[in-house]
Chain length 147, copies 2
């Protein structure tokens, strides 16, 4: 099926508690994972919480990578959301499993924005002029309370 | 089942193309959605891409909210990842559907980090001293190449 985005839900169980507690190391691994997937990094944001647990986001031009770690359970939840057909998110998954030393990982691949089931190509992508007209219609409709 | 995180996959179809093209409006709506869910906002990051499409992240103390918009398809993919039992992510979903005027939304709720199936409580949460010892063991094992 044609979809706008590919979303990998990565469950990293039985990881190294030491690595999942290391803010710098987690940030380096996520940034490297984005590069391994051939993503274009736009912004990076990582935070450590008390008593332990780290959350991180890598915004990429093709969507995002996110991670939340529970070192006390040796568990990390990673999401890799990409659009287009250029990136290799599966390479990022393999890299993360290795770097976090997960002995029990699992991955679920979801298609996001399935606008054309049954292998039909996606509907015509409207251009900026059409989008502007559509926006004006929407604004008009909103003003008229039709929405 | 007991899980560490609750992840809502929100598919917002048939939205207002005008709103999905407005960086400021999308950022305001996502921030308000986080507040509606009683989340504690830690950091906000929004970017607009050419020719159109906006990506945004709201890092919260309880995990994150993310959005990617395709105004040319009137579609937005939103993720709301929360941990703990205090937040009300479903309130954020209802708020987003209303603000983006989605006429065809859908939501899937996933449990992330299911470490105790069959309604057993989660395993004992180790304390910082135990985590430190575990980390040292991990480091030792790593050095010994046992991992």
């Amino acid at each position: 099926m044609y979809a706008l985005g590919t979303h990998l839900l990565v469950e990293l169980r039985e990881c190294s508690a030491k690595i999942l507690s290391n803010l710098k190391e987690i940030q380096d691994v996520l940034i490297s994972a984005a590069k391994v997937a051939d993503a274009t990094i736009v912004e990076v944001s990582f935070h450590e919480f008390s008593p332990f647990g780290i959350s991180g986001m890598v915004v990429i031009a093709e969507s995002h990578l996110s991670i939340h770690t529970w070192p006390e359970y040796k568990y990390a939840a990673v999401d890799i959301f990409t659009c287009g057909n250029v990136l290799k998110p599966e390479k990022a998954v393999a890299y993360l499993i290795e770097k976090f030393q997960s002995k029990n990982p699992s991955v679920v691949e979801l298609k996001r924005g399935i606008l054309s089931p049954m292998n039909k190509k996606l509907p015509h992508k409207i251009n900026e002029k059409e989008l502007k007209n559509e926006s004006q219609r929407s604004a008009f409709s909103t003003n008229q309370g039709f929405y």
